[in-house]
């Protein structure tokens, strides 16, 4: 007998087939949705998606997919990444669609940082937008200094977010639950108000952000293949994909390590964890700093891409948007965050046809998901330290 009973014989034969089919379908769907312009197209596609999800749940396909995915995860993850790259090139000259893809990827990356805090270590952070913004402002300030290579700017953006978290460490480590939530809420409000009243960083008017440059390549210029000119957003979308991929691997490894296990222990029962020698303070500190650093890095790239930032973009409600990505996707679930980021970024955008009514509809949709799927869209699966074990080695 193997370590793990693999339930479906069909899945055992070619366990990745269903997953691969879903990835390809999702890619084509994403492309169609991004390119859809007319009201009836968007509506049709959204209805189609809801129907497909319901059908998958009803027929048990979703459950099987879940198992199959767990069984051949590394392969499917690589395939999904490849599909993403293909999608980016397929959109090639659709500026706006690429901007949406890149935005989704950066929000997804930020949500992975928050997931370390909310999902793994169980720490509330309602200042996500502030740390995201810290990275963006770092990019804005460093962009005026030509000596700093922009790739390093991303790292410094993370470092600045990390430094800003330091004064919060004492209150964060001493408090728990709602009390910790208030510390971060207060910090978020403070951060935004400070930027607004203080003229040094552009005040309420905001700052220009210089574009990304990599090995002499200006990201604001369009890549050309032969005589075919693509959108310059291809640059950002590809870099955002690389960043998201890197952070995904990192956070996945974190989850499947002793540190990740200890984060779970701290989240689920801090007292019991302490009795088994889990260094609670160090674990929380790691989660808080690492998460915020990831937020900062993704914010720095976001700032460069949007090219203009102002305090109004990093408010409490933006923090809530990030938190809702984490919760909608399912606490601790990375793939959940990816799906939820796409929904949170794309849905209000595609609902523009509803104009002033779209936030009302969006908030009601989120409430419905929370009521009927309290563990999120894709609940976090059990930990497997190394995927090979699952494959029935």
């Amino acid at each position: 007998m193997t370590d793990l009973p693999i339930s479906s014989t069909a899945a055992a034969a070619r366990p990745w087939a269903a997953g691969a089919a879903v990835i390809v379908t999702a890619g084509v769907y994403a492309w169609a949705l991004l390119m859809a312009e007319e009201t009836w197209q968007v509506t049709g596609l959204l209805v189609l998606a809801v129907a497909a999800v319901l059908a998958a749940l009803k027929t048990g396909f979703a459950r099987r997919l879940h198992q199959d995915w767990a069984a051949s995860e590394p392969r499917l993850n690589r395939l999904a990444f490849a599909a993403l790259i293909v999608l980016i090139f397929a959109l090639s000259d659709a500026h706006f669609a690429l901007l949406m893809v890149a935005t989704t990827l950066l929000y997804f990356t930020a949500a992975m940082g928050l997931n370390i805090q909310f999902g793994f270590a169980g720490m509330a952070n309602f200042a996500g937008a502030a740390f995201f913004g810290a990275g963006a402002y770092t990019a804005a300030v460093l962009g005026t200094v030509t000596a700093v290579p922009p790739l390093l700017t991303l790292a410094i953006g993370g470092a600045v977010a990390l430094v800003l978290s330091l004064p919060l460490l004492l209150p964060i480590l001493r408090t728990t639950g709602h009390y910790a939530a208030v510390v971060t809420i207060a910090f978020g409000v403070l951060f935004r108000t400070f930027l607004e009243v203080n003229e040094i960083l552009g005040g309420p008017q905001g700052l220009m952000v210089a574009p990304m440059r990599l090995f002499g390549w200006d990201f604001n210029s369009a890549p050309v293949i032969g005589s075919y000119e693509m959108s310059f957003y291809v640059n950002y979308a590809l870099l955002a994909a690389a960043l998201a991929g890197l952070v995904f691997v990192l956070v996945r490894r974190l989850e499947r390590s002793w540190i990740g296990l200890h984060m779970d222990a701290v989240r689920l029962d801090e007292t019991a964890a302490a009795c088994f020698g889990v260094p609670v303070a160090r674990i929380k500190l790691t989660a808080f700093l690492l998460g915020n650093a990831i937020l900062g890095v993704s914010g720095a790239l976001y700032g460069m891409m949007i090219s203009f930032i102002a305090p109004a973009s990093f408010t409490f409600s933006d923090s809530l948007l990030l938190v809702s990505i984490v919760l909608l996707g399912g606490l601790g679930s990375l793939w959940g965050s990816a799906v939820a980021a796409a929904i949170v970024v794309l849905l209000p955008e595609k609902l523009q046809l509803l104009q002033e009514y779209r936030f009302l509809l969006f908030s009601i949709l989120v409430m419905l998901v929370l009521l009927f799927r309290p563990d999120g869209i894709l609940p976090r699966p059990l930990r497997t330290f190394f995927a090979s074990r699952r494959a029935g080695k």
Binding site: R174, A181, I364, L370
Partner: protein, 306 residues
């Protein structure tokens, strides 16, 4: 600084503090019985105020002109309506999520807040603009140098403090209060003692929401202006106040409310730098307070049984 000015600041602070305390009390009550934070509290307050405003327009339209009668009608409609809404939220949104992570409740009520806010903005006639709330209280004023004390402010503070007093009596002296405290203490034991758990939770949400509606009406009567966004800030401040004071404790909420008002007034009046920094100051102090007293100024009793 002259005496009149100090007195003026003090009066302002007391009025603000009373309002904040009334909002904070709701947070602390909900947390007490259900260990949840209902973040839509501020927007429910706003909705309650709009109900009151509508009631006033209705009364004025059918020819009721006596301000005291109008006030009574406004209060009955607003408090009653909001209490029902509060209970409905508890029944259909909060209780169903009891088994889910606490964060879900927080997010769902946040989203509810957004939905309420957007709905009022979109569907209340001309809801995106501020409304003039009627001045139903006498506006006589006593002038002492640069200090001006108005009758309506005094009445509002007294009424607010009175309501807090009544609430404290209800919690400490009545059967309902006993049931609420029992549920807050230990849900299982309370059930075994024959307390109708659901009913107590609904009653608590009704009371908390009614009190918030009172704070909203107070807000309307004092500023004579209401708008769809008024609940957002009040909710945030009320939540912070409840936390600073210590969740689950009525007196903590009151203390927190007055403390926050004090911080804001001090921030605006006494800080050497520009008054625009007063929120930076107030929230920085909140962070420092949490580092110093991680479970609030009046900590709740540790419920972590080992």
């Amino acid at each position: 600084m002259d005496f009149g000015l100090i007195a003026q600041y003090l009066a302002n602070g007391i009025l603000l503090g009373t309002m904040y305390a009334l909002v904070a009390v709701g947070f602390t009550l909900f947390f007490g019985v259900l260990d949840v934070i209902k973040f839509s509290h501020g927007d429910v307050l706003m909705l309650g105020t709009f109900i009151g405003f509508t009631a006033w327009m209705g009364l004025a339209a059918i020819g009721v002109t006596n301000p005291w009668v109008q006030l009574l009608g406004v209060l009955i409609c607003s408090l009653g309506g909001t209490a029902l809404i509060g209970a409905a939220i508890a029944k259909w949104l909060v209780l169903p999520l009891k088994k889910a992570p606490q964060l879900n409740t927080l997010l769902i009520t946040l989203m509810l807040g957004t939905a309420i806010r957007e709905a009022v903005r979109l569907f209340y006639p001309n809801g995106s603009n501020p409304k003039a709330f009627p001045a139903l209280l006498p506006d006589a004023a006593v002038e002492l140098g640069s200090f001006s004390l108005r009758a309506d402010s005094v009445i509002l503070v007294l009424a607010g403090l009175g309501l807090i007093g009544v609430l404290s009596l209800v919690i400490n002296r009545t059967r309902l209060g006993l049931a609420i405290r029992a549920v807050a203490q230990d849900e299982e034991t309370a059930r075994i003692m024959g307390i109708n758990y659901t009913l107590v939770v609904l009653a608590t949400f009704a009371i908390g929401s009614g009190v918030a509606a009172f704070a909203g009406i107070m807000n309307g009567l004092y500023y004579n202006e209401i708008n769809f966004g008024m609940g957002l800030i009040l909710g945030l401040i009320g939540f912070s106040a409840a936390i600073i004071g210590g969740l689950g404790n009525l007196y903590g909420a009151i203390l927190g409310g007055f403390l926050f008002a004090g911080l804001q007034v001090i921030g605006a009046a006494l800080l050497p730098f520009a008054s625009a920094y007063k929120d930076v100051f107030a929230f920085a102090v909140v962070i420092a307070l949490m580092a110093w007293k991680p479970t609030g100024l009046i900590p709740e009793r540790s419920s972590d049984r080992v």
